[in-house]
C-alpha cells in the first residue's frame, strides 16, 4: 500500500498514503517540535518512576516518592482540621449557653451544625429540618423536652428512648387499647381535640381524660416537659391531628427513637448541631441567658 513518491510541486517525498486522491507530504518535524517530544518522553519515564504508575498483579508500582492519592487526601483533611483546631477548641471550651455571647463563634457553630445536619440528621428530620409524621419538626416552637440550647444538646447527646442508654430521655405513653373501649377512646380523642378548638367537647371524654391522661398531660392538656408529655392544646401534632390518628395513638401509642449521638459524633459536632437546630427559628431562650440580658439592659440604662 505504501506508495512513496516525490511530490512534484514541492519536491518533498509523500508518506505514501492516499485518501480520496489527497496525499500527505512527509515534511520533517521542526527541530523544536522534536525536542519537545523527546522532553515529554523523558518526563514520562521520570514520572513513571517517581509516582505510582504500573498496575501489577497484586498492587501497582508505588513510585520512589511514595506519593498516594489517599495520602494526599489525608494530608488535606489534616490540614483542614489543623486550620479549624483553634475554633474547635474555643467551641469545646465555651459552655453552650454562653455561645450567644460571641456572635462570631455562634455563626461558626451554626454553619458547622448545618453541614453536620445534612450528613447525619436529614434522613429522619428532612433536609429543611421540617420533619414528618413521627419525626419532629425542628423549625417550630413546640418542644417535647425543651428547646433551649442546653436541652437540645442533651437530647442530641443522649437521645430519646435509646435502648441501653442510662441517661437517655424516656417517656412511654401506656397503651389504652385494652383498658378503654373504642367508643371511650373516640370520646377522649374528641376531648383532646377540643383543647385546640378542633372538635366539640364531651363530658364523658373529659372525665376519662381527667382519670387517665391528666396526670401526664395536665388537666388542660398542656403537656409536661419533665416527662416529655406532648402539649395537646396546641396546633402541632407529631402523629397527626385528626381524631382517628389521636385515637390510634391512645389505643396503641407509637414511640419514636432518637439515637444518642454521643457515641457516633464528637462533642463539638454535637454542640454545633445543637446551635444549628436552635437557630432554625423555634429555639427558646436559655433562662439564665435571659436573666443576663435583662441585667445588661439595666446596665445600659
Amino acid at each position: 500500500m505504501a506508495n512513496r513518491r516525490l511530490d512534484e510541486a514541492t519536491g518533498t517525498e509523500t508518506v505514501g498514503h492516499e485518501w480520496d486522491g489527497i496525499e500527505e507530504l512527509d515534511t520533517p518535524m521542526p527541530r523544536w517540535w522534536l525536542w519537545t517530544f523527546f522532553a515529554t518522553v523523558v518526563f514520562a519515564v521520570g514520572y513513571a518512576i517517581a509516582y505510582p504508575a504500573w498496575p501489577l498483579v497484586e498492587k501497582g508500582t508505588e513510585g520512589v516518592l511514595g506519593w498516594t492519592s489517599r495520602g494526599e487526601f489525608a494530608r488535606e483533611m489534616q490540614h483542614e482540621r489543623d486550620g479549624r483546631a483553634a475554633l474547635m477548641a474555643q467551641l469545646t471550651a465555651t459552655p453552650i449557653e454562653r455561645l450567644a455571647d460571641d456572635p462570631e463563634l455562634m455563626r461558626a457553630a451554626v454553619a458547622g451544625g448545618r453541614a453536620a445536619f445534612k450528613v447525619n440528621c436529614v434522613q429522619c428530620h428532612g433536609s429543611g429540618a421540617a420533619g414528618s409524621a413521627g419525626y419532629p419538626n425542628l423549625n417550630d416552637d413546640d418542644w417535647l423536652w425543651g428547646g433551649d440550647l442546653k436541652t437540645i444538646e442533651y437530647t442530641l447527646l443522649h437521645g430519646i428512648r435509646q435502648p441501653g442508654e442510662d441517661t437517655t430521655r424516656t417517656s412511654l405513653m401506656p397503651a389504652f387499647g385494652g383498658a378503654l373501649s373504642s367508643e371511650q377512646i373516640g370520646q377522649v380523642a374528641d376531648h383532646v381535640l377540643s383543647f385546640s378548638g378542633k372538635a366539640k367537647d364531651n363530658a364523658a371524654g373529659a372525665q376519662l381524660f381527667a382519670d387517665n391522661c391528666a396526670a401526664c398531660h395536665g388537666p388542660a392538656g398542656t403537656g409536661n416537659r419533665e416527662l416529655g408529655a406532648p402539649n395537646l392544646a396546641d396546633a402541632i401534632w407529631l402523629y397527626g391531628g385528626t381524631s382517628e390518628s389521636i385515637a390510634q395513638q391512645i389505643r396503641q401509642p407509637r414511640h419514636g427513637v432518637m439515637p444518642a449521638w454521643q457515641h457516633r459524633l464528637d462533642p463539638v459536632t454535637i454542640r454545633m448541631l445543637a446551635a444549628y437546630v436552635h437557630s432554625l427559628g423555634g429555639g427558646e431562650q436559655f433562662v439564665e441567658v435571659a436573666a443576663n440580658a435583662a441585667d445588661q439592659a439595666d446596665e445600659q440604662r
Binding site: 421540617a130 417550630d140 396546641d234
Partner: protein, 485 residues
C-alpha cells in the same frame, strides 16, 4: 524544467517565513503629529489616572478611578458601582464595542492606527529605537553588523529602556486596583500582595516582548480584530489608499522628464514603504497588514510637494470614491462617508445605550433590598396555629456614611416580623437597623401571621431616616397551608 515549476516557479522550500525586521523611517507631517498627540494623551491617561484623587469622605477611598476587587466596588470619580450594578460596566463594554463598529465603518481601522495599545506602545518603542540606534539606515546597518562590544552595549542600553517602560506599564496597571501611593510604597517594601508582583511581572514581560519584539506581527498574525474589521468595512468606509490610476506606471523623475506622459505620479522612491511601521507596501492595495496609521500619506505628500505634483497620491479614500475617481470623476469630500445610514444607525444604538446608562445612573438609589424566601420548609405552623415564613433580606447601604434603615412590612395587615438577632416577643411591623457605610446587611427575617392566614403576596420596604429619605421595596410571597380551617 518540469511543468510544475512553470506553474509555481517560486516554490516554497520552507513552510515558514522568517520575520523581516521592520525599521520605519522618521517622518513628519500632520498625521504623524496627530499620532504624537494621541500617543501622549493615551499614555498620560493610562499612567496618570490612578494618581488622581477624589474626595469621597471618610468612609470611602479617595482614588478617582479604582477597581476595588476586595470590596467589590468600582469607583469612577463621582460614580460608585456595586456588583449588582455591573450592567453599567457591561453597558460601557457594549458601547465600546459598538463604538468600534461606528468608527470602523466611518474611518476604517482608525482604532488600529492610532489608539490600539499595541500600536501606541510599538510607536513608543520605535522612538526608543530611533533614540538609541538612529534612524532607519543606521538601524539596518547595526542590525546587519556582526556582534561587537559596541553593538552589545547599544542593545543592552536599548533593552534596558524597553524594560523600564515595560515595568512602568505593568506597574501602572495594578495601581487601578488599590490605593496608588500606598501600593507603590508596599510594592517597594515587599509588602504588596503576591498577585500584584505576579501581575506586574506578567505585564512587564508581555509589554517587553509584544511592544519590543513582536510589533507588527501582533497586528498581522495574532490579533483577531483585523479579521472582524474586514466584515465591518464596506465600500463607503475611509481607508488609506494608493491611487494607482494616478500613480502607475511608476517611474523616476528623470525617466518622466525623458519620456513625458508615459509615467504616472509615483516616482518609485519607496519612502511610503520605508516609513510604514508594519513594513507594508500600500501600493499593493488594501491589506490586513495596513493598520491605517497614515504615515505613508505624510511621506508621499512630502515627496509630491518636492517634485511639484499634487498631494494625495496616497490618501484616505473610500472604495467607492476610488472607482469614481479612477473613472475620471472629481475627488469628493471625505466627510460624506461619516454621514450615511450605516454610521447613523451605529451612532443611534451607541448613543441610545449611553443615554439609557446615564438615565439609570441619574435615577438609581443608594439603597437596595433583596428578599429571598426560605423554600425548605416554605412555611411553618407554630404551636398557637399561627403561620411563620422565613426570609433572607439583604439591605444595601450604597453611601459612604452609615445610615439607619427602617424595614417595614407592606401587606398582610395582621402580620409582624422579627429577626434572628432579637427576641420574638419584640416582633413588630417596623424594625430599624443601623447599616455601616457601603455595606450589605443580611438579615434573617421571620414573618408571622395569625392562624388561618391565606397564602398571599406582600412586600418589604426599606426607607432611610433623616433628610432626603430614600426608599426601596421588594415583592415576595407569604406561604401558608391552603386548606387549614
Amino acid at each position: 524544467m518540469s511543468s510544475v515549476e512553470q506553474i509555481a516557479p517560486e516554490r516554497p522550500t520552507k513552510l515558514f517565513a522568517k520575520r523581516q525586521s521592520v525599521h520605519p523611517r522618521r517622518i513628519d507631517g500632520p498625521f504623524r503629529r496627530f499620532k504624537w498627540l494621541v500617543m501622549f494623551v493615551t499614555l498620560a491617561i493610562y499612567y496618570g489616572t490612578p494618581w488622581l484623587r477624589w474626595d469621597r469622605g471618610p468612609y470611602a477611598p479617595d482614588q478617582a478611578v479604582l477597581i476595588d476587587l476586595a470590596n467589590q466596588r468600582f469607583y469612577m470619580f463621582g460614580i460608585e458601582i456595586w456588583p449588582h450594578e455591573f450592567y453599567f460596566v457591561a453597558g460601557l463594554l457594549i458601547m465600546a464595542g459598538i463604538g468600534l463598529f461606528l468608527v470602523t465603518s466611518a474611518v476604517g481601522r482608525a482604532w488600529c492606527g492610532y489608539s490600539c495599545p499595541q500600536t501606541v506602545w510599538t510607536d513608543l518603542f520605535q522612538h526608543v529605537d530611533r533614540f538609541v540606534d538612529g534612524d532607519r539606515n543606521a538601524r539596518m546597518r547595526l542590525d546587519a553588523a556582526p556582534w561587537s562590544a559596541g553593538k552589545a552595549a547599544r542593545r543592552a542600553f536599548k533593552w534596558t529602556i524597553y524594560l523600564v517602560i515595560a515595568f512602568w506599564t505593568g506597574g501602572a496597571w495594578i495601581m487601578y486596583f488599590a490605593d496608588a501611593p500606598t501600593l507603590t510604597r508596599d510594592f517597594w517594601n515587599g509588602d504588596a500582595a503576591s498577585v500584584a508582583y505576579g501581575t506586574v511581572a506578567v505585564l512587564t514581560a508581555t509589554t517587553f516582548w509584544l511592544g519590543g519584539f513582536m510589533r507588527e506581527q501582533v497586528c498581522i498574525y495574532m490579533c483577531p480584530w483585523p479579521r472582524i474589521q474586514g466584515a465591518l468595512i464596506d465600500e463607503k468606509s475611509l481607508i488609506v489608499t494608493y491611487k494607482d490610476w494616478r500613480g502607475e506606471p511608476r517611474g523616476s523623475v528623470k525617466k518622466a522628464e525623458k519620456d513625458p506622459g508615459a509615467f504616472g505620479d509615483c516616482i518609485d522612491c519607496n519612502l511610503c514603504v520605508a516609513v510604514c511601521p508594519t513594513g507594508y507596501d500600500i501600493r499593493k492595495g488594501p491589506d490586513v497588514a495596513c493598520i491605517t496609521c497614515s504615515l505613508c500619506i505624510d511621506a508621499c505628500d512630502r515627496v509630491m510637494k518636492e517634485v511639484g505634483r499634487p498631494r494625495g497620491l496616497i490618501d484616505y479614500a473610500t472604495l467607492e470614491d476610488c472607482r469614481h475617481e479612477a473613472a475620471g470623476g472629481q475627488p469628493r469630500p471625505a466627510w460624506r462617508t461619516l454621514l450615511r445610514p450605516r454610521t447613523v444607525i451605529y451612532f443611534t444604538i451607541w448613543a441610545g445605550i449611553g443615554l439609557a446608562l446615564l438615565f439609570a445612573l441619574g435615577t438609581r438609589t443608594h439603597l437596595g433590598i433583596s428578599v429571598e424566601p426560605d423554600r425548605n420548609p416554605s412555611f411553618m405552623l407554630l404551636s398557637d396555629g399561627s403561620v411563620r415564613n422565613a426570609y433572607t433580606v439583604k439591605l444595601r447601604n450604597m453611601q459612604s456614611r452609615p445610615r439607619a434603615l427602617q424595614l417595614e412590612l407592606e401587606g398582610i395587615p395582621a402580620a409582624e416580623m422579627w429577626t434572628d438577632d432579637m427576641p420574638r416577643q419584640e416582633a413588630a411591623r417596623k424594625i430599624v437597623r443601623e447599616i455601616p457605610p457601603d455595606t450589605t446587611l443580611p438579615l434573617r427575617v421571620y414573618v408571622i401571621a395569625p392562624p388561618g392566614s391565606p397564602p398571599q403576596a406582600f412586600g418589604f420596604a426599606a426607607t432611610t431616616q433623616g433628610e432626603r429619605p430614600e426608599r426601596a421595596a421588594s415583592e415576595t410571597r407569604f406561604e401558608a397551608p391552603e386548606n387549614e380551617r
